[in-house]
């Protein structure tokens, strides 16, 4: 029982990172129909920014803030430099372009920084452990969960209450009608990328705090998880992405805890097969809309 509770807490903590991550990915898909493969590199960018900032003597907190901002700026630049010139292209072309962009960025990291991993010193406070009865919880687990939940809540309030959030929700429903109300499409898209980048940045800070290193291919696992969570939750649904993120985090932790030792390396594969079975039953994902046409 206590092991179950322990794993539940770990799972929720990891899941909360995945939820933030997936939300940023789902937002861009919801507004523009782009699945941004280079989204993972935003996390790498956060990592390198944190690395250089701590090297320059900044505090961890300042480095984390800079890291998140860097991801937001990079996300906007991606839109301006790559996606905008391709705005008339279809889903496949855009996906492929983002795939290529991801490779270009990894190449840049290798040339400009180093192909080898760079360590980021974490404050000691993060590695403390709190003992609650039979439970041992690291400070990082708690902080991660709290930061992620606050980020999700702030995002939800922003989308509900603010004028910009209203415009973005409307644009995701019907861009032309939104423009007919005098809302600039360009601004909404820019804002969507900035917000998506901020979410990637927050997830990035939490991710880097777990790994304490950054390499040119740091973004690979997060993007993979994000894609799976988004498909699991239902393409185009932001609620689905958050739920999918939590679900995948829990699945990962529980598989790791309860699988026989020899099978643990295959946990990723097993999780994917499990999700495939789920998608066989519900091809549109947990929160996606069923397609009516029976073709």
């Amino acid at each position: 029982m206590s092991q179950f509770l322990q794993q539940l807490l770990n799972g929720l903590s990891l899941g909360s990172i995945y939820a933030v991550l997936s939300l940023g990915l789902a937002m861009i898909y919801g507004t523009l129909g782009i699945l941004n493969f280079a989204y993972g590199e935003l996390i790498t960018i956060t990592g390198y920014t944190m690395y250089f900032a701590t090297q320059a003597g900044l505090s961890f907190a300042a480095a984390a803030a800079l890291g998140a901002i860097a991801a937001a700026v990079a996300s906007v630049l991606m839109q301006q430099l790559v996606f905008r010139p391709l705005q008339r292209a279809g889903f496949v072309t855009l996906l492929f372009a983002s795939f290529a962009l991801s490779e270009v960025l990894q190449g840049v990291f290798r040339q400009a920084v180093s192909p080898r991993a760079k360590g980021i010193p974490l404050p000691d406070a993060l590695s403390n452990t709190i003992v609650l009865g039979t439970l041992r919880i690291s400070t990082l687990t708690i902080i991660t969960f709290v930061v992620a939940i606050v980020a999700l809540a702030v995002f939800a309030v922003f989308m509900r209450r603010s004028r910009a959030g209203l415009h973005m929700r409307a644009a995701a429903l019907d861009l032309t009608t939104t423009r007919l109300q005098g809302v600039s499409a360009g601004r909404v898209i820019l804002l969507a990328f900035a917000l998506s980048g901020t979410l990637a940045g927050i997830a990035g800070v939490l991710w880097i705090s777990r790994t304490a290193t950054v390499t040119p291919s740091t973004g690979a696992t997060p993007i993979l998880v994000g894609f799976i969570a988004v498909v699991l939750g239902g393409l185009g649904s932001t609620v689905g992405a958050v739920v999918g993120g939590f679900a995948f985090g829990l699945l990962e932790v529980f598989l790791e805890a309860y699988l026989p030792l020899g099978v643990v390396p295959f946990q990723f594969a097993i999780a994917l097969v499990a999700i495939s079975v789920l998608l066989y039953v519900r091809p549109e994902g947990l929160f996606g809309k069923a397609v009516e046409v029976k073709v």
């Binding site: 290529a100 594969a269 998608l279 073709v295």
Partner: protein
């Protein structure tokens, strides 16, 4: 053999000859490294045309093919490495694996089998998904296969790899196999399966409405393409003489997709050219990567240059040449003499394989399509509210009514695009209410669309050859009758508006329908065009003895064309009768012009 297959085969042979020429130059150059480059080129061609047979034909991006390449490579390595080497490298595999060594062609055959089985299992889930979810699923496949191969250390030794595959590739064997791949993929593309796949790629709804079973089509193409990929991966292992599980991840996927996108996704020639260009870039920049000397200066080693340059190349290609260097064309469409020959073969092939008489129109009269008490609501609004409708063979029924009266919804209920909340649809007296669009099409229900849905990038001839029942119909005769015989080889999207409308009708007729639903066939036509359309429809209804239900807002056309007219308003029938009766009906006039206001009438 029909014309399409003959042209495909010939195109494959010419493309293959080009490859043979390039390989010969490299192999006979005397340089050992150029000769081995030639082998790599051939293997890249095998890999990328296999990928093309799915991605190009269906238009669905697959990240998963590198997984099949890996599975194929593993299978071949496992069964070609001599038993002695296997015993030392893989002591814990079962004896029958450890002790079995197959000649390489058999091992490749086994790889084909294994990949086909894996693809067949996964395909069951895959084809149920929407296209974007499908792309993600192939991505999941890549990761799953990658982690499994890398972690099944008892079998693969992970990233250490297994080695000792006997040397068997030479430029000449490689090029021969590559030509076989090109032929198989081109013939597959030209086959019924390939044609239907391309039709689905162009327009799913239109494809279903001519009787193509989309899931079945995608399933078969997926399995075949995976099997080919497995063979290509196996041969890849025969060339590198080892298997390393770490090699079938992102980098390989990326290189494969790069070849396809740079060359041209929808063309086998494009795939071949892409393989060549990417190899050239790779060769050039891997020199840079190793570092070299310019006049005394030692340039540093720069790792990852190749991938970086490839990625940039792709982004630029997507922005400036989204369809790749070659675009959509195959070799016989690019070279003028071949083009003339190919067109001749296609036309003759079509004329000889198809009987000149349409599959005998049944002379039976009687009701061919019937709707009974059909209802359908959308978010509380009853779009169709208990409508009865029927049409007989040879009859033209007009369906009119103001905007929002439920005509299009009714059409969707009858063609199977959406299901009614209540009521039944009967086709030739059989209840088909819960059947799919494609099965209704096969049972004799044809349709055309309000906003023309042709297979835009397919030729006129391919458009009317796409319906599964088209072999029974004299396609050429149809085109001649609808005045399209001069534009057989043109892409449908390049035709004039009137020609596109007529082609869509011809395509519907090529399904040998018992009844055709036409949604605004005259929309956007000028009077001359709509007059000639009227004559065409009338002749066709009489000659094919099929029923026609036609929606149009051009009441002038409807009044002159139809035997009977049914008028809808707010989801209900308000009048049925001859054109004369309808024109005089006060309720109909009110529905169109509005209720008399303030008693001024």
């Amino acid at each position: 053999m029909n014309g399409r297959l003959r042209v495909g085969l010939m195109g494959a042979l010419v493309t293959g000859l080009l490859l043979v020429a390039v390989v010969s130059v490299l192999a006979l150059s005397g340089s050992k490294s150029l000769a081995s480059t030639a082998v790599v080129l051939c293997i890249n061609v095998m890999l990328v045309v296999s990928l093309q047979s799915f991605v190009g034909t269906t238009g669905i991006l697959s990240f998963g093919h590198a997984a099949f390449m890996g599975i194929g490579a593993f299978t071949v390595a496992l069964f070609t490495i001599p038993a002695t080497l296997k015993r030392s490298q893989l002591p814990s595999t079962p004896p029958f694996v450890r002790d079995t060594t197959l000649p390489w062609p058999l091992a490749v055959g086994l790889a084909v089998l294994v990949c086909a089985v894996v693809a067949a299992l996964m395909g069951v889930v895959l084809v149920r998904m929407t296209t974007s979810a499908m792309v993600m699923a192939t991505f999941a496949l890549l990761i799953t296969a990658y982690t499994v191969l890398l972690n099944a250390v008892d079998w693969t030794r992970g990233s250490t790899g297994i080695f000792g595959v006997p040397r068997s590739m030479s430029p000449w064997i490689a090029v021969a196999v590559a030509v076989v791949f090109i032929v198989v993929v081109r013939v597959l593309g030209a086959s019924r399966l390939g044609l239907e796949g391309r039709a689905v790629r162009e327009d799913e709804l239109a494809a279903a409405s001519i009787g193509i079973d989309i899931r079945r089509n995608r399933y078969l193409l997926w399995v075949i393409s995976a099997a080919l990929m497995g063979a290509a991966g196996g041969i890849w292992a025969l060339n590198v003489l080892a298997f390393d599980a770490g090699q079938f991840g992102f980098a390989t996927t990326f290189a494969l997709l790069a070849m396809l996108v740079v060359g041209g996704r929808e063309s086998v020639l494009g795939a071949v050219v892409g393989a060549g260009v990417v190899l050239l870039v790779t060769e050039l920049f891997s020199r840079v990567e190793q570092g070299f000397r310019i006049g005394g200066f030692e340039l540093p080693r720069i790792t990852g240059t190749v991938q970086f340059v490839l990625a940039l190349l792709i982004i630029l290609a997507l922005i400036w040449r989204p369809e790749g260097i070659i675009g959509r064309a195959e070799i016989e469409e690019l070279v003028a003499p071949l083009r003339r020959w190919a067109q001749g073969v296609r036309v003759r092939g079509n004329a000889t394989t198809a009987p000149d008489i349409v599959a005998e129109p049944s002379m039976s009269a009687g009701i061919v399509l019937e709707g009974r008490g059909l209802s359908r609501s959308f978010s509380g609004v009853r779009a169709v509210d208990g409508i009865d409708i029927q049409v007989e063979r040879g009859e033209i029924l007009g369906l009119i009514g103001p905007n929002g009266s439920g005509k299009s919804t009714l059409l969707n209920l009858m063609s199977g695009v959406s299901a009614p909340d209540a009521g039944d649809v009967l086709l030739n007296g059989v209840v088909v209410t819960s059947t799919t669009v494609h099965s209704r099409a096969r049972a004799g229900l044809g349709r055309t669309f309000q906003n023309i849905r042709l297979f835009e990038h397919l030729s006129v001839l391919d458009n009317i050859s796409a319906p599964p029942r088209s072999e029974a119909v004299a396609g050429l005769a149809l085109l001649t009758r609808l005045n399209l015989a001069d534009v057989l080889a043109a892409e449908a999207g390049t035709l004039s508006y009137g020609q596109q409308r007529r082609l869509e009708i011809a395509r519907a007729l090529a399904t040998a329908p018992a009844v055709i639903l036409m949604d605004e066939p005259a929309a956007g036509m000028n009077e001359e065009e709509s007059d000639s359309l009227l004559r065409d429809i009338r002749n066709l209804a009489a000659e094919e003895n099929c029923g026609v239900i036609i929606i149009d807002h051009d009441l002038r056309l409807i009044m002159r064309l139809c035997d009977r007219i049914q008028v809808l308003e707010t989801g209900r029938t308000i009048a049925i009768g001859t054109p004369e009766e309808i024109a005089q009906n006060a309720q109909v006039r009110a529905a169109y012009l509005g209720d008399p206001v303030g008693g001024d009438e």
